[in-house]
Symmetry: C2
Subunit: 315 residues, 2 copies
């Protein structure tokens, strides 16, 4: 007995290595990866990550990248994967919150005519364009324009909020006014609170802007990104045979990635190359609040490069 | 029996008129008024309000104006009172959230050196200047500057958030970075969610910007304005003999004004010239959640002009 079979049945922060990972590779048909902090850090691939992804693809595994980063259209991701040494990753493997938001607006909300008011970035607009979802062409605001006197469009069908480094008070006010109409949909790409930058700086996440708008309107946004289930629904509607029981969600953030996996009925793995630490996971695990158990990963690895020895054994 | 004495003892949405109001005028030594929606609407006095205020002052009552509106320094309020026909209102009667925030930073937090990063408007800076509280002189941001490369000041002692129609993503990001330092105080003038404008438009309140920053930092702001008790503490530290049992708080917003009164142990009166309606108050009154009882006014009037007949009877 190497303990591997037992490991697959256990729940909660189980550190896994060689043989146990080999069992996971056997047991799972699909691997879902978060990107930043898991397979890369900004412009640097996590060492070994390209080989892991390549090996999974070569073995015919389903490989999907589920990212709350809404700033890039998928085409840009494809180029980034190539630039960082990942081979064989195609556009259809990539599920970003902006792409899935565009799918939601097209297929679920079925936005026609009118248009979407975007509090967000160019990557979001590009996914909307590609999905054929109409959105308001924001002209640069007239200098000195205020919510007291600015023009507001008629027939806005939805407000979509995501990362927006050009966010202004006037945008917030306009979006608040549009959302006074209860038929105007309120959608957010993700609810990420912040992202780490260098030198201890942080980048406020979409969740901040969404929170501002939720307070102004007294409404709750429908969130597309992790931990909401919708991105998994996008994957399983586009690929046949995606069985939650045969999927592993690999991420670095307990409150988004592990909760997402839990919400979708997937086994989860925390990699320690990103935001959350083992201690954070163990604290949740010890918590008596049952809601916190959804943040606890089934498995923990130092890095996804820990997969590599398992492949070598298999080869 | 005119029922007046009984009225003073009762709790909950009691509609009061002539004789009952006369009893209140006898029983109370201090009257605290919210401004917008209570004594004026923008640039128009509520009809009769100037006479009510004048009559209270003439009878030697304490009259205080407690407003969450942080955009104007008190001097500007004095001029507005005069312009709208209120006579005898002096600067020391006015307690705005920006003035009280400046007092908090000077007397409670005792900010020295370093400085305050202001996410707010000129009215807030003016109150800080007058109180001698140092704050960061924000230069116009270099075009194209981002949180990745902008300059950050050392030794920021507090972030103060209020209404800011020049709010940008970069300000949010800078404030988030300053608040990474747990010794940096996080203060908000108020947590008002929105304010009504004409034509169904709304103006997002300080509460929106505070919420954005709370999400980015995982911290909760200390709120100066109503419903926090601090503004009442400012009044009672500057005036002798301000006994909560002898004060009446008059406002138009259940969730701020009535809760403020309740938090400070004051009797409360809702006037129906502003945001909240009688039905809203009655709904809270019927609620079985004890926390909602704090939103229920003791008394309700259509307008504070309903005070006038009581004065006439007294004269």
């Amino acid at each position: 007995m190497d303990g591997g079979a037992a490991a697959i049945g256990l729940k909660g922060c189980r550190r896994v290595r060689g043989a146990q990972i080999r069992h996971l590779l056997d047991a799972k048909a699909c691997f879902l990866f978060d990107c930043d902090g898991v397979i890369w850090h900004g412009e640097q691939a996590v060492p070994g990550a390209p080989r892991v992804v390549h090996a999974l693809l070569r073995r015919g595994k389903g490989v999907f990248f589920v990212t709350n980063n809404c700033t890039r259209p998928r085409e840009t991701y494809v180029r980034k994967f190539r630039r960082l040494g990942f081979t064989g990753v195609r556009r259809e493997h990539i599920f970003s919150s902006s792409y899935c938001a565009a799918l939601y607006l097209r297929d679920v909300a079925q936005v026609r005519g009118g248009g979407v008011f975007v509090v967000g970035c160019e990557g979001m607009r590009e996914e909307l364009r590609e999905a054929g979802v109409p959105y308001l062409q924001e002209e640069a605001d007239v200098p000195g324009a205020t919510i007291y006197d600015c023009a507001l469009s008629a027939g806005v069908k939805a407000v979509l909020v995501g990362h927006d480094d050009q966010f202004t008070f006037l945008k917030l006010a306009k979006a608040s006014c549009y959302l006074r109409d209860p038929d105007c949909l309120f959608l957010a790409t993700d609810s990420d609170p912040w992202h780490p930058l260098k030198d201890g700086r942080i980048l406020p996440g979409s969740g901040c802007l969404t929170a501002a708008l939720e307070v102004a309107t007294g409404r709750k946004a429908t969130v597309i990104g992790k931990p909401s289930r919708f991105m998994f629904e996008c994957i399983s509607s586009q690929f046949t045979g995606v069985d939650p029981a045969q999927c592993l969600m690999v991420g670095d953030r307990l409150e988004t990635d592990m909760l997402f996996g839990s919400n979708c009925g997937l086994d989860t793995m925390l990699t320690l190359t990103g935001v959350s630490q083992l201690e954070d996971a163990e604290e949740y695990s010890r918590s008596e609040q049952s809601t916190k158990q959804c943040f606890v990963p089934d498995y923990v690895v130092d890095t996804i490069a820990d997969f590599l020895p398992a492949f070598e054994e298999l080869d």
